[in-house]
Amino acid sequence: MKISSLSLRISLPIVLVSALAIGLTVFLNVGKLERTLAEVEQSRLHFTLADLQDNLETGLDLGLPIRGLGNAQAALDFETRADPDILSISVVDPEGVVVFHSGSAAATPVAPLGSVKGASWNRREPDALVAGQKLSNNFGVTAGAVVMRYSPRGHDRFVQAISSQLGAAALVAVLLSSAGFVFGIQVLGRRVSGSLRTMEDALQGQPLDPRTDAAAQALVGRVSQTTASARAELDAACQALSSGGAS
């Protein structure tokens, strides 16, 4: 079927709007899923941190300084071994200086804890998801924090997978709807052209297709009748003037 330039002219802007709308829908969905995933991940990391917090705060409650927590290194090593996606876990003092560290990532000092709002925090760094939990003794004084750096590979893989699947679906939706638009508009255009052609044929004296719309039939009939009448009256008037008007 040859696509007319008219159906292309009508279809193209609609295809563009459709693509934009579907693209925005995918963008919104991917964004929401990523945020939901981040929430679940953060919540999971905080469970791990909460275990460490319980463990380490037991020592702090006994009055030990943070550097004197004898079981800290073993606890950190246990957790990093348990989950290969944990890049590192550090225990820092109130100034943010690393006092215990375990894992493959280098020990990185953090900002002094006085400048950190809240008891826990999360942030995304280029190479890691970072979660922190303040440690306090039984007087409520902040004695340090435990900071976990987690591999973002799983997160990024998830987002990539969802994005590519939804992107592919969006592409298919755009292609299908575009084909639908072009085809539908083409069919409608042909139908309109067919009606116009039938009306034209009828004006030229050919019988009207009985399937033609009743209003179109009536209109064509009235046009033919009025035009014929007008021409007949004009002819008769000309003849009347030519034959008798001059005498």
Binding site: I10, S18, V26, L28, K32, F158, A230
Partner: protein
């Protein structure tokens, strides 16, 4: 008409065909011939758009459910391991597992803090359930752990190397679906907006390429059926039919030209006169023998051009005061509320000052040039707003955006005047008004959604993109030619002294027009984002709530316009509309919540729907005498200027109130001002109506 020959009673000339009396064919009767295919096309395109977007959203939801399962399982394992550790520690104190105290409360707290968990249970080593807690759900909703809704992970609880029990962690599979369902409002907004924009574009493209040419042919046939042979058809779809019709028209007109030639001969003049008179009574011919092609439909472009320029500016409406408030004012030490409101006032003030000049300038240089220049101003202003995070630059950029906005607005208004006659001008302006409403519905929520995800700066840049698209569309649709330029009127200037004694005009302007605009911009443009942001709403939610205004106005303006006309209640509508607006804002006194803000927006929309068109009718009536001298344009211009100055004052007044009282109380004060102004308006309008000799006029 009968072609039977005999004595013609109309011309009195024997031998001419007898015309039969027939009912004329009306345009309404034949309109369905061109309207039906267009309606089908619209229904088809909008259905495909709807289905494709719904399909993508449904797929996203089902994908999310599947893809999240591994992550939820990991979370359940971690939770299980963590809780099992804690239980093991308790067992270390020598308490048997079945005698542990406070396990239910402990589980309940964990469930409260983790919305994705459905239940927690602890069983002994024989599998006998000892403790169980389930997520608290709304009444009537229960999570059945055995159903597919929960994903269960079991973790052993061991003590001294021996398994003493098992902890069961149930993850709510519906959690992710529920979170995704939270997107339904955003998706619905995208859906509604894309359908409205697609509708606008479709209307433009279909009108220019399909329906206008077909309508032209059908209307030509209707005229021919009624004996009017003065016009032919232009080329387009149905060209072949148009050519056939043109041949018929030309044949008839040539016959008439021949008759005129014969009638012009002195010897035949006397006989020709009744013949021509009779024919002219029944038919209308092209007197020079040539038919004129019917005019082209260009006015439709004004809709899409209005939607585009309004959308470019309104994309940032839901967050502009928040953005302005976040910028440092470099030592000016402006109070917070004032700092947030000044950029909005700069924009509105630039519009108020520029509009009268922009209208004349557009008349002089042409619609295309003035619209494109305005679009470039708007694009520049929005680009600077987004790219230069400096407070003073933002004020300058907003003023530049306002200048461009005024140019584009006046170009669109001029376009309507150019392409309409007095008879159909109302219809033309209705196109502009509905286009503004569509932009008001679509742009703020989309801007809010985007701001939440890509940040303020990129939304300004998106607005710049829309302004540039508007310029590109204008360069394709518009020209600088003015087909129906109104004839130059004699230079009659309106002096303010002419209006000084017109108390009704000043009552309308000062107690209705100015307060209505002041409250509109002060509340909707400034206080709504400030209030909702302070109450913790996201940008998407602020945009969504602002959308309520446009939706109500679109739905109710025609209804109230009809009611006012039908029952002659213009003054009542203006007074009551203002009162309702004020009362709506007062509701924040008792309940400063997002719901109360939405009630305020709805009341503002309801009040404006009642008063917008009624106000203009009252102004026209109250200034009938002045309008006779200088025309209604300059009088309405004074009223509009005062309204725009009121609009410019709105954000700054609200900002000052916020600085001293806080946003909720500022809203209440604004509402109180609305109520007092409306009460005074009603009283004063009633009094001036009784005392003034013009009372009969309004």
């Amino acid at each position: 008409m009968s072609a039977a020959k005999g004595m013609n009673v109309m011309s009195g000339v024997e031998g001419l065909p007898e015309p039969a009396a027939v009912q004329p064919v009306s345009v309404q009767q034949t309109a369905q011939l061109h309207a039906r295919p267009v309606r089908r096309l619209f229904a088809f395109v909008l259905s495909v758009l709807l289905v494709s977007q719904l399909a993508v959203s449904l797929l996203a939801w089902s994908l999310a459910e599947r893809q999240f399962v591994p992550e939820l399982e990991r979370k359940a394992q971690t939770v299980g391991a963590s809780l099992a550790n804690k239980l093991t520690r308790a067992l270390g104190y020598g308490i048997p597992v079945e005698q542990l105290v406070g396990v239910d409360e402990f589980f309940a707290e964990v469930l409260r803090e983790n919305a994705d968990l459905a239940f927690l249970s602890l069983s002994d080593d024989r599998g006998q359930e000892l403790f169980r807690s389930r997520k608290a759900l709304p009444k009537g909703q229960e999570v059945d752990p055995s159903s597919a809704n929960a994903l269960e992970v079991a973790v052993d609880v061991s003590f001294e190397g021996r398994r003493v029990g098992q902890l069961h962690v149930g993850v709510d599979r519906q959690y992710v679906a529920g979170r995704i369902t939270g997107l339904r409002y955003d998706i619905a907004i995208v859906l509604v907006t894309s359908l409205l924009i697609a509708f606008e574009i479709l209307w433009l493209v279909v009108t220019l390429n399909l329906s206008a040419p077909i309508r032209q042919v059908v209307e030509l046939m209707t005229r021919l059926a009624n004996g009017d042979f003065r016009e032919g058809a232009a080329a387009g779809p149905g060209r072949s039919l148009a050519e056939s019709l043109n041949r018929l028209v030309d044949g008839v007109n040539q016959g008439f030209a021949e008759l005129l030639r014969l009638a012009a001969e002195p010897a035949r003049r006397a006989a020709a006169s009744p013949l021509l008179e009779g024919l002219r009574q029944r038919y209308q011919f092209a007197e020079d023998g040539l038919s004129r092609p019917a005019g082209e439909q260009r006015l439709i472009g004004v809709r899409i051009l209005t939607v585009l320029f309004m959308s470019a500016e309104m994309l940032s409406r839901s967050f502009l005061p928040i953005y302005a408030g976040s910028l440092s004012d470099h030592g000016l030490n402006l109070p917070d509320g004032l700092r947030s409101s000044l950029p909005i006032t700069a924009f509105l003030l630039a519009i108020a000052i520029a509009m009268p000049y922009a209208g004349r300038w557009s008349d002089q240089i042409g619609r295309r040039r003035s619209y494109i220049t305005g679009a470039l101003f708007v694009a520049t202003g929005l680009a600077v707003s987004g790219l230069v995070p400096e407070y003073l630059m933002l004020i300058v950029a907003r003023a530049v955006t306002g200048l461009g906005y005024a140019m584009m607005f006046m170009s669109c208004q001029g376009l309507v005047i150019d392409h309409t006659s007095l008879r159909d001008r109302g219809k033309g302006f209705a196109m502009v008004v509905s286009a503004i409403a569509i932009a008001q519905i679509c742009a703020p929520p989309i801007g809010g959604i985007l701001a939440d995800r890509i940040g303020y700066a990129l939304v300004f840049i998106a607005g710049m993109g829309v302004a540039l698209v508007a310029a590109a569309v204008a360069s394709r649709l518009l020209d600088n030619h003015r087909p129906h330029a109104p004839e130059a009127r004699p230079a009659a200037r309106l002096r303010l002294s002419m209006l000084s004694g017109n108390h009704r005009f000043w009552t309308l302007a000062l107690l209705s027009g100015v307060p209505a605009q002041l409250i509109y911009t002060g509340f909707l443009s400034f206080l709504v984002p400030t209030l909702l942001s302070g109450m913790g709403s996201t940008q998407s939610e602020i945009g969504r709530d602002s959308m309520v205004y446009g939706l109500i106005v679109v739905a109710l303006v025609p209804l109230f316009a009809w009611c006012c006309e039908r029952f002659e209640t213009y003054a009542l509508a203006v007074g009551l509309g203002g009162m309702l607006t004020g009362l709506g804002l007062l509701s924040l006194q008792w309940n400063p919540s997002p719901q109360a803000v939405v009630i305020g927006i709805a009341a503002l929309a309801l009040g404006h729907s009642m008063s917008i068109s009624a106000q203009l009718v009252l102004v026209t009536r109250a200034t009938r005498e002045e309008a006779l001298e200088v025309g209604s344009g300059p009088v309405l211009g004074v009223f509009r200027l005062m309204e725009r100055l009121g609009a410019a004052a709105g954000p700054v007044a609200a900002g000052l109130l916020v600085a001293s009282l806080g946003a909720p109380r500022a809203t209440v004060w604004l509402g109180g001002f609305g109520v007092v102004a409306s009460a005074l308006f009603t009283l004063a309008f009633f009094l001036t109506g009784r005392l003034s000799p013009r009372s009969h006029a309004a």
